[in-house]
Symmetry: C2
């Protein structure tokens, strides 16, 4: 089981699961992936994206439950439950599902984020209904014993130790997140605070399962060499048999108050060799933004720091030669307000402060002078092309639908995105930068090598 | 109604309510204030502290409900409810209670903090039973209409605007608190985040009232010219008639993870003329500390920065002359882990950075070399004497009992405090400083005058 903490641009999750199918050639123009979208009688939403380029199918179930939905003091339970979903059910022993996937040469995995928990398999189309059967089974038939709870709790605690506590960057990121977010639950780490993970128990797990693992809280995404009508019939035969659960409360979470301060978080650690910084701001997500504003932020991230053509890269890495990396990132696909990040690291004898000042100067330049029509056009082209490239990997494409639908969006949002990106004006990009990227209302994390401590 | 956000040393609340009785002379030795302590049948705890120096009595009801107990997204409701308690009940019109107090020359007030909400009156002893009648009545008989809710919500919103949003120090303090506390609910302002205060409604208020305003969640403190048996009889005739409510869940709140970083929060504002800083650490409170540790922190605060005899004052204000103030403070009486604070402000041409460096140096000196026996003895004497002085103001004395009992302590804790303070060793003070006051794991707030902004 894999826990993904950081989503990539436009909401895609970097899964470690390798596709089992053949490598697919990149496409320079978008093929027609018209998605079918319907509800089962029990409230489960289904999206089918036919993709006949290869005889494989990606099957994903997205539950609209993530770490930001956890009860106070129960941090980590969403991710813990992702682990528990791989245990025995009333109908299948633990490991049986995994073995069935490997035996047919497929791959499978799962991940938990702030807004959702997802399970996926990539298999030959002939195995799709079998996968649906396994997934539908574990949606309601898990056997949660105290032994299972204890064993798997030890696993997540070890996962925390190895992935977070032994990694200075991860330790810093947790405290930066909790400094950026002072009220909204994105401040809580997906994996959980250790003192709360240690206390998670069977009662918590059962309550969580009964509340959230229900067809009316799930989105099924099937992408691949399949026919929507056939998928619908299979879904009805499998998931359709799972009873609808009680209605869930709307996902209304505490929101962030206005930030009035400049905040910093500094971790100094002997294991760090090269210093780095990242500065973040709270900005609207596609789900919370006014029309056009998230699109403007997406293009702002692209122009400012989206790869080698961006201003930050050209200025700091290429021209001044002071940075080994300098980039910007907009975490766009979230249920609630989200973050816009810039980061950089010095090269050679350059100082971290110089890199930060140069990044700040580039931000100041966009705030003051805006962007040119030419670079905006090029950014739009790169952005739209990246949406096409993204369809090239079937599980990335499926994830784009799943993450959007699990964060309050719909299929139309995805289909209309390229047109809405093309409509963004240079003035809108400048306005987004001016409104959100204020240096005196920001949160900066510094990762520093150990120095002579004065104290 | 008064909301008190900052408690003074040893947990006393600085109430603005002036005592109506005659001024009392300071005592150099402790008179015997043996407190009677018992439960009513409905679970209400009672403390009576006879104090016959003047013909007045202080009557307080402490509810074990504060802002840190609020449901997620409902910040401010504890303080809002403090306001609502002054509205009409089934038996008394709004304002009737207040008028009854003024007519007999008494005073009354209320306050809300993280761990409790308290209501108090100071009156002649003959009016005590009348006060009890009013308090017992509003414990259960409030009439909460939509009109009442709307009107009073406007009042708390205006209170927030005038006390917090128009005050740069208060705005900074809120964000420093939310940066210091990343999980524990002390990160949430007592008055509430404005976007949540705006949404508080009658349903929220009724649920809150029914859960927490119950005799079995309240502590009655009566200090003054009264006899414990007579107070007991009166309490039974008034509060005793209020039915016990459902058992409350233990007050187990999310706790703070280990801090691994140095954090800063900076507010720059044109209304600031003199810069200042404060650095905080998470430390145990009397309720969470191992035996002797909170006492050592109390003495550390006294030696480091408790008034004009302290190291910070002597070094920065008197000797170096660089600071207009330099102090230390331990917020000791809290249900959960609490904060230890140092702060300072420059004088004349001195720079804030110099003041901060000098404060840090004094901390470093205690961490490295500890404290002398002589200054420890003097600090103990000052501390114990301050506990005696504190009994001089009847409402401060009553508050000491109320705040201790509302944060998990008991009468014995208060009575034994002087002895436990006297037992602290110099080694324990040094160890507390070394364990908790690490500069690379601290949270510092900076309040700065407006400067030339580079951006």
């Amino acid at each position: 089981m894999l826990m993904i903490l950081q989503a990539l641009r436009i909401g895609l999750l970097a899964t470690a699961a390798a596709l089992a199918g053949p490598a697919l050639a990149a496409l320079e123009s978008a093929p027609d992936f018209s998605a079918a979208n319907f509800l089962l009688d029990n409230g489960m939403e289904v999206v089918v994206i036919p993709d006949h380029r290869a005889p494989i199918v990606t099957h994903m179930v997205w539950y609209k439950i993530g770490s930001a939905d956890e009860p106070p003091g129960k941090s980590g339970i969403a991710h813990f439950f992702e682990h528990l979903m791989f245990k025995a059910t009333a109908n299948h022993a633990a490991g049986e599902f995994d073995r069935a996937v490997s035996e047919i040469g497929g791959s499978n995995n799962a991940f938990t984020s702030y807004d959702y928990t997802a399970f996926h398999e990539t298999v030959p189309p002939s195995a799709l209904e079998q996968m649906m059967g396994f997934e539908a089974d574990r949606m309601r038939n898990l056997i949660l014993t105290d032994d299972v709870i204890k064993t798997e709790r030890d696993v997540i605690l070890e996962e925390r130790r190895s992935r977070i506590d032994s990694n200075p960057q991860a330790v810093l990121d947790e405290e930066v997140d909790a400094t950026l977010w002072q009220n909204q639950p994105y401040r809580i780490p997906v994996i959980g605070w250790i003192q709360e993970m240690e206390q998670l128990n069977r009662t918590d797990a059962e309550a969580f399962y009964d509340s959230y693992y229900r067809p009316n809280n799930a989105v099924l995404v099937v992408a691949g060499d399949v026919d929507p009508d056939a998928v619908k019939a299979m879904a009805e035969r499998t998931y359709g048999k799972v009873a609808r659960g009680p209605d869930l409360r709307p996902r209304i979470r505490p929101v962030e108050p206005q930030q009035n301060t400049k905040r910093t978080v500094t971790l100094t650690d002997a294991r760090v060799s090269v210093p780095s910084f990242s500065t973040q701001w709270v900005v609207p997500s596609y789900h919370t933004a006014k029309p056009g504003e998230a699109e403007a932020l997406d293009l702002l991230a692209e122009i400012l720091g989206g790869g080698n053509r961006s201003r930050l890269y050209q200025q700091l890495v290429v021209k001044q030669g002071i940075a080994s990396e300098a980039s910007a990132f907009f975490q766009s696909t979230m249920l609630d307000a989200t973050n816009f990040t810039v980061y950089g690291s010095p090269r050679g004898d350059a100082k971290l402060a110089d890199v930060e000042a140069a990044v700040d100067a580039e931000i100041g330049r966009i705030v003051k002078d805006g962007v040119t029509e030419n670079e905006l056009e090029r950014a739009k082209t790169r952005y739209v092309r990246s949406m096409i490239f993204l369809r090239d990997k079937q599980d990335d494409m499926a994830s784009m639908y799943g993450s959007t639908l699990a964060t309050g969006g719909n299929v139309k949002d995805i289909e209309e995105r390229p047109d809405r990106i093309r409509k963004v004006t240079a003035e809108e990009v400048k306005a987004a930068a001016a409104r959100y990227l204020a240096l005196d209302r920001s949160t900066t994390g510094y990762l520093l090598p150990q120095q002579q401590v004065e104290q």
